[in-house]
Symmetry: C2
Subunit: 293 residues, 2 copies
Amino acid sequence: MNTQPLAASGGETALAIVCGGGTLPFALADAVMRRGRKVVLFPLHGWADPQRVLAYPHHWLRLGQASRFMRIASEHGCREITFIGSVLRPSIWKMLPDWRALQLLPQIIKLYRGGDDHLLTGIGRLTEQFGYRLVGVKEIAPELAMPRGLLGRHAPSERDCADIVRGLALLNATSPFDIGQAVVVADNHILAVEGPEGTDQAIARVAELRGNGRIHSPAGTGVLIKAPKIGQDDRIDLPAIGPPTVETSAAAGLAGIAVVAGSTLLAEPERIAAAADRAGMFVIGVDADGTQP
Amino acid sequence: MNTQPLAASGGETALAIVCGGGTLPFALADAVMRRGRKVVLFPLHGWADPQRVLAYPHHWLRLGQASRFMRIASEHGCREITFIGSVLRPSIWKMLPDWRALQLLPQIIKLYRGGDDHLLTGIGRLTEQFGYRLVGVKEIAPELAMPRGLLGRHAPSERDCADIVRGLALLNATSPFDIGQAVVVADNHILAVEGPEGTDQAIARVAELRGNGRIHSPAGTGVLIKAPKIGQDDRIDLPAIGPPTVETSAAAGLAGIAVVAGSTLLAEPERIAAAADRAGMFVIGVDADGTQP
C-alpha cells in the first residue's frame, strides 16, 4: 500500500465513515489515509465485515444509534461524514432508535414513503441538520470511481454499443421514479428493469428467463447497464460494481457491463478486470449518454 | 347466452380468429356470433384450449403455418382477421415455417430484434401485406374491455389512488422502450416493473420480496397497474386481466388492480369481481392519466 501522504481533500479533522457491506469502505478508508487524513469507521452491525474493520479505528453502530454516533464522532472531532457500502433498505421495524433517533422518527417514517433515493437523501439531510458536512466518495477519493474506457481486454461490439445507448435512455426515463439503477438490454430488447430486488436479482432473472426459453437472445448477447439517478445527491448511493457483478452477469450469458464513468464505484478493479477477461466479457465506463472514449 | 343478432360490426364475411391461450378467444367468438356474424377459429397448437375450440368451426395451426392459414381462410371467404389470447413471445427456432412463412422469414427475423410490441405489430403488418384487414377486439366487441369504475364492491383508498397515478406515469415513461405493460406501486414506492417475464412473475416477485423482508410496505398496500403502450397498435396485444391476475395479486398482499378503461380486456369479469370481493381487493377501470369516474 502506498503510504505517501497525498494532498488532503479538505477538512483537517478525522473523516467519519459509516460502513455498510463489501470491500468499498476499506478502499475508501485507505484512500483517505493515503492523503494523510485520519478516519474513524462506524461499521453497521449486520452489514460491515467484522474482520476487516479491525485494521482501523472503529465503533460499531446499530441502525438507529444516532446519539451514540454523535457522541463518538464528537469525541474524535469529526465534522465530515460519508456513507459507503451496501445496505439494503432496512426495515423500519428493525431499527432500534436511541433517544436522538426517536426524536427524528416522525421524519424517518415520512422518508420511508418513497423510493430508496428519497430515503437515503433524506437521511443525508438529517445528518446535516446536526451540523455535519456530508461528503461524497467522488469528492474525497475520485480514484474509486470507474474511469472512461475499458477495464479488461474485451470491447463491446457495435450491437452492444447500441444496447448501451438504449439502456441509458431507459434509465434516464425511469430515473424520476426513484427505482433501480440498472437494466439489462440484449439486441435492442429490454430483458430486465431493476426494482427493489437489486441488481444481482435482476441479472439472475435474465439467467432464469434464458433457461426456461422465455427470452431468446442467445448467450453472449446482452449488456448490464448501470447509471446513477439523474439529479440524485451524488454524495450518497452511487451505483457500484464488484467482482460478484461480473460473475452473476457471466452466469446470465451477458456480453458485458457498461457503467457511467466517474459516477460508479468500483470494488476491487483488478479482480473485476480479471473476472471479465476470464469470462470473455467487456467492462466499460461511458458517458451518461452512452458516448465512449 | 344471448342469441339475438346484434348489429353486425362491419364486414359480412366470416371473421378469422387466431386463438392463443385463455378464455378470451371464446368470449370474442361468442360476442361476434351474437352480432350475427360467422367465425372461423384458428387455435394455435400449444396455446389454445383443445376442449373449448370443439364448440366452434376451427382449424389448428402451428406457429409458422402461414400458407395453411391463407388457404383455409380463403376457403371460408375470410377477409378480416383478429389475434386474441395469450401467446408468449415464441422462440423463432420453434417455428416450423411453411413455404409462405419461409418467404417472410427475413422480415420475421428482423422483427425479433426489438420488444414484444415491435414483434406483434410487425406480424399484424405482414398479415395486411397479404390483403387481410386486421381488426382489433375493441372494434369488434367493445364489451370485452374493462369499463370505467369499479368491478367489485371494494374501492381504492386515497393512498391507492396516488399509487395508481404514479404507476401510470411510470408506464407512460417506459412505454417508448417497448417493455411490459404492468408495474406494482405501494405507498409511492415502485415495487416491480414488468419485463419479458410477464405480469404474473412480476407480481410473484413482490410476494417474494415481501416474504424475505426486502420491501416493507405492509400487506394490504400496493396496486397492480396495467396500461397499453402509448402509440401501440391497439388492434393487437391489448393488456388483459382474468381471475388468475386477482389471485396472484391477492397472494402478494396487494390492495387492488387498476387498468385503463376501454383498453384492457377482461377474461370472465364476473369471476374477476367475485375473486376480488373474496380477497377484499378493488378492481378499477381508470383513464390513462389515472382519472376515475
